[in-house]
Symmetry: C2
Subunit: 381 residues, 2 copies
């Protein structure tokens, strides 16, 4: 193990890269999908299952953890790794995005954001410095700058103002973070879907020489084409030797497309949230297990999968569990979905390493399309 944070690209295929982030708590194989562990748990999963599927890193949410159980309490319990029993790398967001989407009575100024908890209404202040302090109390390995996320659509002026505030907050986070060997602070490129703002944001952040760069403010309902165009606009301005993280993305198809455009890291609640609501992601596309057509289907989700949730239980049984609101249904579908996501990432890494990404992507998409034609799936990947 190393006491430093390093990122090495071992192979490229077009804009796509395969590589490794090495840090004291472990190696993150990229492109990586990071399961979301919002409140110190990847919902409905044991963390040894999550690791067993190939996840090298999970994500924690500052907003949730600062409200409950509280960052200082987690620190007293030995930090987030020990608290949730996950000794491998953890990435934490800054809290900014969820303050915007979940908290009540927000007030943003140069200093930071004041908000009321959605749990009990009590008032909190989150500044760039406090966000870094919280992420330090949690013991996070990869920490994110505080940023302002505007709801789209918004006037360009509002997007620009938020982007510039986020740059000033990035600099304050950089100073607050200081020099922490083996840990990393990532900046977040903002600017909505306005190319010149995205480019300005990227260039300014790169000037701060951070350990990695995220693209934020996407996956908020815009068309996939707009998301991909933004990645294409930003990517040339990010250094090739730093990891690139597309925040909050996405569907399997989003991930495949973004990897092809040079993205190294992803997080998304989709596989876990969809799993709790009866949806399975598979090589055959998306299945809605609530659908009555699965009620008598003796076949598993994917007989060729190595995941017990995918290869053992009939769709009829999963349908029954979902219809009965049984917790096991949520457990099995979440497990299947994270298995599929990790298998997809492993497939992408292998294909990039072998220089066959185009073939892999074509075969993956054909798998979804064929299942749709055959009526196996309820939706694409």
């Amino acid at each position: 193990m190393t006491d430093t944070f390093t990122f090495t690209v071992s192979k490229t295929d077009g804009a796509a890269r395969v590589g490794e982030i090495r840090m004291p708590r472990g190696v993150i194989r990229t492109p990586a999908f990071m399961p979301v562990g919002t409140a110190a748990t990847v919902k409905a999963m044991y963390l040894d299952q999550v690791k067993g599927l190939g996840a090298d890193v999970v994500l924690g949410n500052v907003y949730h953890l600062m409200l409950r159980p509280g960052a200082e309490r987690v620190a007293r319990m030995g930090g987030l790794h020990r608290f949730m029993n996950w000794p491998f790398p953890i990435l934490t967001d800054s809290g900014g995005f969820q303050v915007m989407s979940l908290a009540q009575l927000r007030k943003i100024d140069e200093t930071g954001v004041t908000f009321q908890s959605h749990i009990d209404g009590s008032t909190y202040v989150l500044t760039p410095e406090r966000s870094i302090e919280i992420q330090g109390l949690l013991g996070s390995d990869i920490q994110m700058q505080l940023d302002e996320c505007v709801r789209l659509p918004a006037p360009d002026e509002a997007v620009e103002k938020a982007m510039r505030l986020s740059l000033r907050w990035a600099e304050r986070c950089r100073i607050a973070f200081g020099d922490q060997p083996g840990r990393a602070l990532f900046g977040i490129v903002q600017g909505g879907t306005v190319e010149r703002l995205r480019v300005e944001s990227a260039r300014a952040l790169v000037g701060m020489d951070l350990k990695g760069y995220a693209i934020g403010g996407l996956a908020v309902g815009e068309p996939q084409a707009a998301m991909l165009a933004t990645i294409e606009a930003v990517e040339p301005h990010l250094p090739a030797d730093k990891p690139r993280y597309l925040m909050g993305v996405g569907t399997p198809d989003d991930i495949v497309e973004a990897v092809g455009r040079g993205i190294d890291m992803f997080d998304c609640v989709l596989p876990t949230r969809a799993g709790r609501h009866g949806t399975a992601y598979t090589r055959f596309g998306r299945l809605n297990l609530k659908n009555a057509r699965h009620a008598d289907d003796p076949e598993p989700l994917d007989a060729a999968s190595t995941c017990a949730a995918s290869n053992t239980y009939s769709k009829a049984y999963l349908h029954h569990l979902v219809r009965s609101n049984e917790i096991l249904g949520m457990m099995l579908l979440t497990w299947n979905n994270l298995a599929y996501y990790q298998d997809l990432m492993a497939g992408l890494r292998k294909a990039i390493g072998e220089g066959t990404l185009a073939d892999f992507v074509a075969a993956t998409k054909e798998g979804w399309a064929k299942a749709a034609r055959d009526g196996v799936a309820d939706g694409a990947g």
Copy 2:
């Protein structure tokens, strides 16, 4: 493996017995606790965990399964064992008890019971013959006769009437069940807390020469003393060479007391239901993890347990999960509770085998009492 159903008592200690039920799908070590798998799932558990804890048999509920997914559908899917992926013995109840407690607009006559589903209001008829047919469609290894359970308190006349109807239904079930090598039909002793009715019921059932005998209609809110008195009244009238099953019982203390009075089999939703509601059963009694006093406790539920749910996670973490309504909290507490119940049964079996039951019971109760004195527990066992 055997193609017959056999029960062997290997050792007794007072009225308590240790033994084995052998049947084609496996051996049930008695005294046995049977986790409840109502709707073809032991809620919030993977069945390999349930087996790993030492459970030899799980229970399925005819009422729930006949409504959803339907007995004929389960049969088409290869039976309940294959449907839920549990190749070991399954005991099914007859549906009678839950028709009384859950269904709407019940009408009971000599034929059987007509009721409306609590799920969609549709009408079903459950006769003794249909109950046995359903249990056969499910592929149940140990089947229960249909009985009428009256809500207590009730006039003796009503209790007597229900007991006699249950005897006539037992005979109809016996005929419907016929001769099924390797499977068993159990009769159910009824009669409320009226000793002469219980004795009459037991004697009549024993006259039918069934493979095992249950005591029903208890654990419905009566004091523990009334339950134990009823066991003591019935036990001398049950043959020593047949298993005795106390239905729906109970707390760890109930189980300890009933084993000492000659009971071999138990089922209860308590460990699973309590686990989903924040309660842990341990060697140190009952803990309510919702309680704020656990918020900063770095200790696990039981460091000496071999169950990961009991020995790994801090009470502070479990408290956080329970307060946050996280599914993992339900998963871990259910797992801990079933581990404790199975450990208790293993301890009882070992003590009976060694002729040290009184010491084991005293030590178990002292563990609960000491924790209560020390303020460790929120309640007794």
